[in-house]
């Protein structure tokens, strides 16, 4: 990885420093390298070889899915209608993508300009997370070509999923709009940026509303199965709140993790402002995440108390529940508390990684493991797992592609 980025640094570092706006589109796309050099550096990067391997197997699997139906890549379980494709791809990705609305709220509404250097990364993380959640949905839906039906053909407005569909669609548009200033700088369309700036506040508030509602709605979806999911993982009165509050720290932790990775793997692309402020920002984010975690633990406790589930806690499922909550929330919380107090940034970052894993684990528990807990356990078919990996591969490629080019980690110099 190192030699490659060093390579590009020469070419691109120069490019960005010399000027941004009056370079040609090809130069912008190929980072100022000739096509031959660009392809050459792609091939020397070991990460690309791993990605290539994933896609080489994954793309044929995707073709199989679209030619022969879901049965070809999943177990096609009637008992587990939602497999890991949705369990991870939709229910796991969306809380991690709450970063967009959280940071835009922090900066635009709360006017915390100290978080400005990371706002765009959080917005991009949100946008891509949502976009790829939709990609996962397109793989998993029986008839993906009918994705727009709830918007244009037939309405079921009393259904929670109807809200989710509309909110995700609207919020995706909002997030695209929020990213447009960065794109406009890159593409040299100043008018666009000026227009978006005028409606930033509206976009941000719309983002808060839409996020609150559909992060909650994803939880409320499980209220449709109050008796199928283990009672510890479902509290119909509070489920939406559990999902919403956990998405707050999930989104913040995801930003900590992504900004950390980017700092190490794309140092050449980060400007001095980003690199110098990141540690302080990380601690600030961790502080916010810790507050959300405490809230989350309290409302989880309220749910157990409300439904009188104390005895369930000492059953096998209860221990598993405590393990999830302990590893996924309590341990990161302790790490954050200690790390923030003693300014141990690396420690905080590992804690954030643990919290991210914990949230994905919680969502998988709700969708797959504790769903139909009285029936057999569904273990995903390897092809389904590989397709998840494949979509994540595309996610990674797009994420990296944008970070390399659009001014997210650096400021565009005029």
């Amino acid at each position: 990885m190192k030699p490659v980025s060093a390579n590009i640094t020469d070419a691109v570092g120069q490019a960005t420093i010399v000027s941004g706006s009056h370079r040609g589109l090809l130069d912008k796309i190929f980072l100022g390298l000739s096509i031959r050099n660009y392809l050459g550096q792609l091939l020397t990067n070991p990460v690309n070889w791993i990605l290539g391997l994933i896609l080489a197997i994954g793309i044929p699997l995707l073709c199989q899915r679209y030619l022969f139906g879901l049965q070809a890549i999943t177990h096609g379980s009637q008992d587990y209608p939602w497999g890991i494709l949705l369990g991870f791809g939709l229910f796991g990705m969306v809380p991690l993508s709450a970063s967009g609305f959280l940071l835009s709220t922090t900066v635009e509404i709360f006017r915390r300009d100290d978080f400005l250097p990371i706002e765009r990364l959080a917005l991009l993380n949100g946008l891509l997370g949502y976009f790829f959640a939709v990609v996962f949905l397109l793989v998993d839906l029986g008839m993906p070509w009918r994705l727009t039906y709830p918007m244009v053909v037939s309405f079921g407005p009393a259904a929670v999923l109807f809200l989710v569909a509309w909110h995700v669609a609207t919020y995706l548009s909002v997030q695209i709009a929020e990213m447009l200033p960065a794109v406009s700088e890159w593409a040299d369309w100043p008018g666009l940026k000026r227009f978006i700036k005028k409606i930033t506040l509206g976009l941000t508030i719309a983002g808060i509303i839409l996020s609150t509602l559909h992060q909650g709605a994803l939880g409320a979806l499980f209220c449709y199965a109050p008796a199928k999911i283990h009672p510890l993982w479902i509290a119909p009165e509070f489920q939406w709140l559990h999902f919403f509050v956990s998405s707050i720290f999930a989104g913040l932790c995801m930003v900590i993790v992504v900004s950390w990775l980017v700092k190490h793997t794309m140092t050449w692309r980060c400007d001095r402002r980003y690199l110098s402020t990141l540690d302080g920002i990380t601690l600030g984010l961790a502080k916010g995440a810790a507050l959300a975690m405490i809230t989350y633990l309290v409302i989880k406790l309220v749910a157990v108390a409300h439904d009188q589930e104390w005895l369930l806690l000492i059953s096998g499922w209860g221990l598993y529940y405590l393990l999830e909550l302990g590893l996924g929330t309590v341990v990161p919380l302790v790490i954050f508390a200690y790390g923030v107090r003693h300014s141990r940034v690396t420690m905080v970052r590992w804690g954030a990684l643990l919290a991210v894993a914990g949230i994905v684990w919680n969502r998988l528990n709700t969708v797959l493991i504790c769903y139909n807990y009285r029936l057999h356990q569904e273990i995903p078919y390897w092809k389904e797992l590989w397709v998840v990996l494949t979509v994540l591969g595309f996610y990674f490629i797009v994420y990296r592609f944008i970070l390399y080019r659009i001014p997210v980690l650096f400021r565009w110099r005029q």
Binding site: Q78, G142, M143, G202
Partner: protein, 314 residues
């Protein structure tokens, strides 16, 4: 000057925020507020004590709907014996299945037929975001494959785990489920194929209200023969298919964890939150914005520090 522009921005923003969200506020039919079911709701009373497990209903059903014939009827009638590890469930090839259940209270096995129970307030219907499901006044819960997107939320929502998905179809997958023979029979006042095929009249077709009286009469007239409850009278808010059993229902293969209120009730809490968020959030966050900005401007004038450079760079 700056304040003026911001105020206009603020208003614009509020309008944008409201417009983008208010259009999707859930509107619920007022008639669904306390829905007691249609007077004309037909149903079937299943008398588990009468079923002998011949599976004629499965045959009749598969013929009626053009499905693959049920497995193991002629060449392998030990099929029911093999099920002791796991019950057969409805799937894309079978809208109804009969399973055998052993009860410690009886010297012979019991057979329980499973199919869509055609709830009075169906969970599948309330969970569907394209309105693919319809509850007909005759009582059937029918499905329209033409608008279905294949999200399978109905399968998650159904408390009886009935709807099945045609996973093996790439271009026309759809939900497969019993439709009470609505198109071919029920809409013309005829009983469904399974009922007509049942030689033991373990399946009694009629108006649901009448069937409840019949069920209670059987329980009353033959003391000790039946459990003193009708499964489906209250389950999931009431179902068109009703069951009486000689043993406690869980011993005859019934899911006794099914809630006794409509599944819709469990999501109403969230649906009530939606308008609340739509009402409170815009004002709340706009207010915070104004406070934070005022605070910032105040501080700035005190500190003689210019942040406008910083913000303009974004």
């Amino acid at each position: 000057m700056r304040a003026k522009i911001s105020r206009r921005t603020l208003l614009k923003g509020l309008v944008a925020a409201m417009a983008s969200t208010i259009s999707m506020a859930p509107s619920r039919k007022s008639s669904a507020h306390d829905f007691q079911g249609y007077e004309t709701n037909r149903g079937v009373l299943v008398d588990v004590s009468r079923c002998v497990g011949c599976r004629s209903c499965e045959v009749a059903c598969s013929r009626e709907h053009g499905l693959a014939p049920p497995p193991g009827l002629v060449d392998n009638y030990r099929l029911l014996d093999q099920q002791q590890q796991g019950m057969r469930r409805t799937d894309q090839n079978a809208f109804t299945v009969v399973n055998r259940h052993e009860s410690p209270l009886l010297t012979h096995p019991l057979f329980k037929k499973t199919q869509c129970n055609h709830c009075l307030e169906p969970a599948c219907l309330t969970a569907c975001f394209v309105n693919a499901y319809t509850k007909t006044p005759e009582g059937a819960v029918i499905y329209d494959a033409d608008v279905c997107v294949g999200c399978r939320t109905c399968m998650v929502a159904c408390p009886f785990s009935i709807p099945a998905f045609k996973y093996d179809s790439a271009f026309a997958p759809q939900i497969m489920k019993c439709n009470f023979c609505f198109d071919t029979r029920l809409s013309r006042g005829r009983p469904p194929a399974c009922v007509e095929a049942c030689p033991m009249e373990a399946l009694t077709f009629g108006y649901r209200n009448d069937l409840l009286r019949v069920a209670r009469k059987r329980i009353r007239d033959t003391p000790g023969r039946y459990e003193k409850a009708v499964y489906g009278e209250f389950e999931a808010g009431g179902t068109s298919w009703l069951y009486i059993s000689p043993v406690p229902f869980e011993q005859a293969g019934f899911d006794i964890h099914v809630p006794r209120q409509p599944i819709l009730n469990y999501v109403k809490d969230f649906l009530a939150v939606v308008p609340m968020v739509l009402t409170i959030w815009p004002g709340l966050f706009a207010g915070i914005y104004l406070l934070a900005r005022a605070n910032k401007t105040h501080k700035n004038t005190n500190d003689h520090e210019d942040v406008s450079d910083e913000t303009s760079e974004r």
